[in-house]
Symmetry: C2
Subunit: 426 residues, 2 copies
């Protein structure tokens, strides 16, 4: 690998056909934002749109806006904008509630199907390093339905997929390491032993190519506030394979998922299709903000869409990996993210045995925003996490981020007392 | 009752010490808004506050705002602002998710307690005319936990409260009729037969006095977008009696309800107290908007707080009932709302055998916004529903609303073709 220069990085930005998409975002001056995998950046259209919803649709329209401003169809309208990003068809996705709540809905349905079709199967198989909330939800539902949650390393999944497994529940891209599963292969492997596959796309949707239909996945959920740039706590989405969607109504039954939501009948009759995965009234301000994030993907479509965004994402993560190798060698950093493209999401996770939290704090002080994740095993190093959002991250941002990191490590700047006190980091 | 004049109504506004609170809201010109029981009006501070959250806290602060803008403590901070409105203590209420989801959480906990303390009890008793989503959630949980949902009329509750009942689940103020239960008496009656009492305060919080602690209620949930004026789909709240709160963790377990939410451990350990009723990440824009609505109650506190608001609410509903009696007699209207103050919430529901939907449509065309609820039994008349929000409804508004209603009925204006086509009404 020839030495990379800052000029090379700037040249890549100059010749990047996707670079114009950054103009759709408002990013603070002096900040290099590499935490879009935790909370995406703000689209320029969001503030005006939310203001319109507050002052016009709510303030002036009041209750009439349920019909006049089409609030009632927002979950489906937004779902249809997410569908092309995850390889789903129109009418198959709804936006509602949180990722955790949606996982509860789809995993409940998966377990109900498993009970009916394969009552002897009593295991939910997942990864020990899956996002903790996903495991909590699985624990809760396993206890409720009489299943056992079996946790393993990623490398053990193939071996543990057997006739005991009812559901394989995985997060497509690991939140700590950025490692990506082969969704198609694992879904087929699950089906081959008679299990269902449930996928969490929190760190995938909008960042890597996903094709739920091609993979023949069974259930999926994902997050609105990471790579979809929907704003803090934006609502989440749910997708169910059409072959399963009408077999059961999920347990969180509310008026918005009813077949006749305005009939106010005392018996629940689930709506046709994915709308039955809705429950109660949703925050309209948060839904409206998410739509602004989703509409940027329509602009990206004209520039090559998800395949082009994925190529840029890989180029950005490759660049960071190579620059850290070339410019930070001997400074105590390791790499937690896989080198193989097929196994990598859209983030670079560096390991560091000492001072990882202080190093991230010093970076943030210099305007480079990544984040920190503690080792989930005391024998392992902590993690410095950097997410690349191909819609707005520049190659030159990566150069500058690595240069700041290098200076902080070389100068021992991170040892300053002000960086040592650890605060909660989301 | 002497004849009431419009001048009387205007005099009452002029001498009303609470009238200044209307200045806290932005209401559209030419509109008399009597649907705050469905979606409350917009506080004047909300647009600027939400704009600040979008552009500053999100746009500039980005991920740092979880700590710097105190997003993490919003559910508890808002809960503490709701607590005095419902007779709860600080630290006992959290704001999160929807009313339906929160009902799922608290009813799950109630059934778990019942199973453990009184395994022979297998009934959940509720009203047939309870809000349908509440019944759907109860059906779902009864099926899951092996309970039976027993529905009855309000007048039958006392008779049916017996040793078979595990949980009495009621909505304090009926959404269709405005009838209010005696929370203290029914809670004590439930306890007397060994059952738990779960209350939905959707049509109570902010409109009528509620004292959960004095009533010794067991669980309660409520809505943020009705009388609390939190905006469309604002998040809901949950309260649990401290004697129950740590007995179980509810089934919707997520990072925000974890004892160490940033430790990312793979095992769930519920947070102390009511925070364990949180689940996944919440829409921060919607939470911030709700806080603007709640802060108006702090202004109201200086003017007598909930007792003063309740007196005004009763004066407003009395006025409407009396004006309809005096000025619309012989026009085919009946009254569904109880006359006794102790049995009345903050709405007036008129019955009408013919054309109720068209009459509401004609009223809305004249700028008087109430709403329509179909009869839940074909032998009964439909309902015209008018909600009074003592924070902003004026006595003169009631005069004008009844005058418009009288003119529409006298002139047969409602028979015009344009009012006959029924649309979904939320």
């Amino acid at each position: 690998m020839p030495l990379i220069t800052q000029f090379d990085c700037q040249q890549r930005d100059a010749s990047d056909p996707l670079s114009a998409l950054r103009e759709a975002f408002s990013l603070p001056p002096g900040v290099i934002y590499l935490d879009g995998n935790s909370l995406g950046a703000m689209p320029k259209t969001t503030a005006a749109r939310v203001h319109q919803v507050v002052t016009q649709e709510w303030g002036q329209g009041l209750i009439r806006s349920w019909n006049n401003a089409h609030w009632f169809s927002l979950p489906q309208r937004l779902g249809d904008k997410i569908a092309p990003l995850i390889g789903a068809a129109p009418g198959q996705v709804v936006v509602s509630d949180s990722t955790s709540i949606n996982l509860y809905k789809v995993l409940s349905a998966a377990l109900q199907i498993a009970k009916e079709d394969a009552p002897q199967r009593r295991q939910v198989l997942s990864e020990r390093s899956n996002f903790p909330t996903d495991l909590y939800i699985a624990q809760s539902l396993c206890q409720q339905h009489g299943f056992e949650l079996q946790l393993c390393e990623a490398s053990e999944i193939d071996d543990l997929l057997n006739a005991k497994v009812a559901v394989l529940m995985l997060t497509h891209v690991n939140y700590r390491t950025g490692a990506m599963h082969d969704m198609t292969a694992l879904t087929h492997a699950a089906h081959a032993v008679g299990a269902l596959a449930v996928w969490d796309l929190a760190h995938s949707a909008g960042a890597v190519e996903v094709n739920l239909c091609t993979a023949q996945a069974d259930f999926a959920v994902g997050c609105g506030y990471k790579y979809l740039n929907g704003g803090p706590g934006a609502p989440a989405f749910a997708w169910v394979n059409p072959q399963h969607v009408e077999r059961f109504s999920q347990p969180l039954v509310g008026w918005w998922g009813h077949a006749s939501p305005f009939a106010f009948t005392s018996d629940y009759h689930p709506a046709a299709g994915i709308s039955r995965y809705l429950c109660g009234t949703q925050g309209i301000l948060s839904l409206a903000a998410l739509e602004c994030g989703l509409d940027i993907f329509a602009q990206a479509e004209a520039l090559g869409g998800m395949p082009a965004l994925r190529l840029k994402s890989l180029a950005l993560t490759d660049l960071m990996i190579n620059l850290v190798q070339q410019r930070c060698s001997g400074l105590g950093l390791g790499l937690a993210t896989p080198l193989a493209h097929a196994q990598r999401g859209s983030q670079v996770c560096l390991t560091r045995a000492e001072g990882a939290y202080a190093i991230i704090s010093a970076l943030i002080d210099r305007g480079v925003i990544g984040d920190y994740r503690a080792a989930n095993d005391p024998t392992l190093p902590d993690i410095l996490r950097f997410g690349m959002t191909p819609l707005y991250t520049r190659f030159d941002d990566i150069w500058n981020a690595v240069e700041h990191l290098r200076q902080i490590l070389l100068s021992d700047e991170w040892r300053q007392a002000k960086y040592q006190q650890q605060q909660a980091v989301t």
